[in-house]
Symmetry: D2
Subunit: 367 residues, 4 copies
């Protein structure tokens, strides 16, 4: 995988661009085989999932986010050439940012962008805004479509939010059925209810909360991954950690592995329907950096939204003095539900690239 | 960063090669500026830290692991050309592997290599063996030397093993002083004692244990990292997850972030000695994928060593039938102490590359 | 350098997109340091140079080609984030292509795109159209601006067209002064006149002609280039050969070197104003793949425009039978003058990337 | 393709290392599918072709150049893991270089390496020595073997040397039969004779000569190449220009294209045996950067060997004064015959990589 600046992937490769309050955000997707059906609706559906303003749990900003395909598609089918997708930034109100433009918001990237570049677009986080993920989700929609045609399904769901965790692993069917039915994107409805309450409680106190998102990939063939540095789990870890607010990534049992014994952690092999399978899947579908054929399972720790209405201590870099900041506006009190489609997108991007690299998907022609 | 197959890094870049029981293992390191003093002793010192056979906690195999520098160094100084370093594989006894060559060891990469490649070197894990990390550690020694000359120090230590965790964060000085004094590489001597006991207890039962390793980088300048995909934490996550046995990676507070509120998780900014600093470092030295100038802190979850002497269920892929496997030999009952130098090496590789890419280290000439 | 699909460069890196008759063409430019002044006029000026319809020598199609900057620039200065630049495709008449959509034009990429992708946008050459160079030229304008601020000037001119070659090397001043004054972009006005006549003569016969374009770079510091594969001349060769219609690339004396003796080909070194210089510059400013500090000189052989009005033999791939094709419309009878700005752009892209990689330009901050 | 420093290729990828008078030179080859038969003899045969001392036309230095495979091969078959191949540098006499260590040889890379790196291995050209091509040729032998199993044959021959050019294109059979039978590697025996005479004549005068080498690839499937920057011809140009002494590269008719008319340059298409073919192959097997299925034909201009025994003017960089240099020893009076196997190797590397990237060769498993 190439992972550099604004580009991600090696053959199936994306480059995102755009600042939150600039003219537009978007993405160029390369490496999509020619002849695959693709329409703006395919993209729009996924973009609508990441859009804010869907419930009390996500911000109420009105982002219309209509995608336009500018290249790479001809009469509803891909050309094998780069697909540029664009979303104009509309209805942006940059005034609140004028007042705090030299006061970096704690937990945000304001300070580090300024330290690195010396000249920043302070409006709405600029390039570090969550709006950048529009490009990822749009590209992910293309990757998902390609993967679906090759038998791979990607499912994300919130497994913990505001201290409320699921108490049993939902089935694949439950995830499919329930995730879009509640604003936290939890597959267990009773837990979703509790998560919502806890999130809103913290929000009422002017605070925010974090959680854990899980992404699964089903139908992934064995043999993906390029040891020893391009291991599948290494690529997934990079992909997920590149999402803002993600502070930890675990594969399979993840951090729980620290407290297991070898006899508990190893997945025994057996034969089922003439195929070698793992009896359990604590490894999360990956051994030695190569997919086993079992579902890929990844968990991401999402930090609490850094924007909170409580006053916070910061500095004024223009005056080089300490200062206080009070953020106004409507923030996501918990970002987990909006991380779900982004994390799914990143998983799809990794797998589409890996499938092509491993010769499982033809790089030039679809179907 | 490029992260593909056997290559890691973009400018400061390494390519490792070698199978466990083949003629040799080694590495080619590119992107080292010319004129840097470098001798085989610099490399050997780090290699000796990763070598097994140092205590009851690590395997008793006698790996002499003498490094030879084959290129890129002339009269004790680097040339700016690729540095190839080689370690011959000596004293290898491949016989135990002949018996199990069609029976993949659970928790190991035997099965996935076979599924991917169809033809494998089954002796000692072949390419998936921990011996591959010799190349990483040798290259890391070069990176560490380059970083030290630019004020960056990297420190690794075991913070949890076999269920015993440290109860306070050791100081930088304690880590420096204590880590090489006990076989678990724990910076708190009293905890080291308890870890050892717990590890040996499990080993006596024919089982293995896991743990958590922390790596810190001090003196890292602000501004490293290339948003939005080449984020510093994304590159570190990939680097660490590419180490065998690592199943989770967290930055700063890592997975604990899931249960904090925004007001607890955000690091307030203040001014100290005329510089903007973070009052706390829950972010682990990275915001928005860019280094803040605070220490980088990363934690890796290490799974229990998959090789255990207890019998395990597996398959025989030649006969396509289920089978039992009993591994004989001397295995590391806990791999954490040997992960420490490897994780330090990976951190050094990421940072050396990033320092050059960000213009903090001259790519062509040293000093 | 990365040179893959639609991406070119390693740190200063571009990704172009767009088909000739699709909604738009454009480019994403990464790696531009923050704080550099940049306005749409800077880009438009270069785009206007590559636009057709400027004289009898170039096609009369009306391409307005107004560029829009969509990201990476804030209040007239760059942000260090990706710069997406877009040009809408207007006034395109796709009807002439409907008739020949299964008959590949000889000398064009119609056949090979179809063989590779199986599904093509046959209108105006699709992705293989010269319109793709709009993205290159727009990105090149950014690179030129960055280079100019670091003392590097890039000059292109036509040195041979339709069999008429210059008979002496013009001075740097002549190139600057004369190239934009005649439609062939020749620096010697008397030769420009002869070239035009020869081009129009062939055009009157329904045929086209080729020629040779030279690009020079002045003020390039010594030390650029990354032996042994990322040699400066290797990168330049790739850059130039990636331009449609270019069939040969030579550095310095280029193909004339075959007939010189060593004593004639070697440039003697001497000392001038306290600096080591080459007395002559037959090497074209590069030795061992590294810049010497002398001007970089490259020559490109441009094939005759493949679109001619004479009838040509081809096939019909739908019917799998032989066929004749007669192209109608207004074609460039000689493409050299329009290659000049594209070749300049490619040179600028290579050098901007190399200057950053060699630490001669700060990757994050301008000036 | 990645083309950076010492690495070439994207999936089938090589990294060379080593200085002329250091301990060893070698290469790491990645991306070779598992299960391919490979023995040291396969490599040695090609290395012997590039070795000097084969005739009066090449230097008389005794380079034994025995290759050792250190990894990636197990019991005569490849593992899909990196193949490190090593050749020790023996019989090197560095004394002649001590005297001229601050006096750069005109036409060589001595000066530019010193300008770039500030610290150099001046013995025998160090890294810029032709010995570096040992790694290329060894890797090329692996690529050739892989290609041969997929129907691709690569043939190189000298088409011009010391001013003597072939007067007709030899057949494929003539090249196969004659090239190894004469020291200039010319496929036309009568021309070989004349070339030898002309070369030796110049050598007798203390001078050297250049020439032109052609490389052909037969059996290449249509559809290779990744527009618009990873065009097949762009990759080939980079590959060839990265060979020391190569100053120009042309595809098909190459620089002759400048003087043809469109009606002469375009290859008409026709149908033969139910397949679309080009009637002629002036394009050299590539249209729009994509292979047509016709043979790939490339010509390289090789400059005269820069080492000549005539006195030359240079500088002494330690004293910063002008100086004279007289090179002693046995130099190749014409390097063309030794470029032939290197150019074949580079062609093989490009095509092996492209075949895998285009899905024509399975990346993981051979056969």
């Amino acid at each position: 995988m190439v992972m550099a600046g604004n580009t991600f992937g090696k053959i199936f490769k994306i480059t995102t661009f755009g600042e939150s309050h600039g003219p537009a955000v978007g993405v160029v997707v390369e490496g999509v085989p020619a002849g695959m059906p693709l329409r703006e609706e395919d993209i729009q559906r996924e973009l609508d999932r990441r859009r804010p303003g869907q419930s009390a749990l996500t911000t109420q900003r009105r982002e219309r986010d209509r995608v336009e395909i500018l290249s790479g598609v001809f009469r509803g089918r891909t050309l094998g050439t780069p697909i540029c997708m664009l979303v104009r930034n509309l209805d942006v109100d940059s005034r609140p940012y004028e007042k705090i433009k030299t006061k970096p918001r704690p937990g945000h990237a304001d300070l580090t962008y300024w330290l690195k570049y010396g000249y920043v677009d302070y409006r709405g986080g600029g390039r570090s805004s969550a709006r950048e993920t529009i490009g990822r989700v749009a590209a992910g929609a293309v990757a998902k479509k390609l993967l679906a045609a090759h038998g791979v399904e990607i499912l994300g769901h919130t497994v913990e939010a505001a201290g409320v965790a699921i108490d049993r692993q939902p089935t694949r069917e439950e995830i499919r059925r329930n995730v879009e039915k509640n604003p936290v994107r939890c597959a267990l409805p009773e837990k979703a209810e509790l998560m919502m309450k806890a999130i809103l409680q913290a929000a009422a106190e002017g605070d925010s909360t974090g959680g854990v998102v899980e992404v699964q990939a089903h139908g992934v063939p064995a043999g993906l991954g390029e040891p020893v540095f391009g291991k599948l789990d290494a690529e997934i870890a990079a992909a997920m950690m590149s999402i803002g607010s993600v502070k930890a990534v675990g594969i399979g049992e993840g951090e729980k592995m620290a407290r297991l014994r070898g006899s508990e952690a190893n997945d025994a092999f057996r034969i089922k329907d003439g195929k070698i399978v793992a009896e359990t899947n604590r490894a999360g579908g990956i051994l030695g950096g190569i997919s086993t054929g079992m579902p890929i399972v990844v968990r991401l720790t999402v930090k609490p939204t850094p924007s909170i209405s409580k006053p916070q201590r910061t500095v004024d870099w223009a005056k080089m003095e300490e200062a206080e900041i009070r953020l106004k506006g409507r923030f996501d009190p918990n970002i987990c539900p909006r991380i779900v489609p982004v994390a799914e997108a990143m998983m799809a991007l990794v797998l589409a690239d890996q499938m092509i690299r491993a010769g499982k998907i033809n790089p030039d022609r679809f179907g």
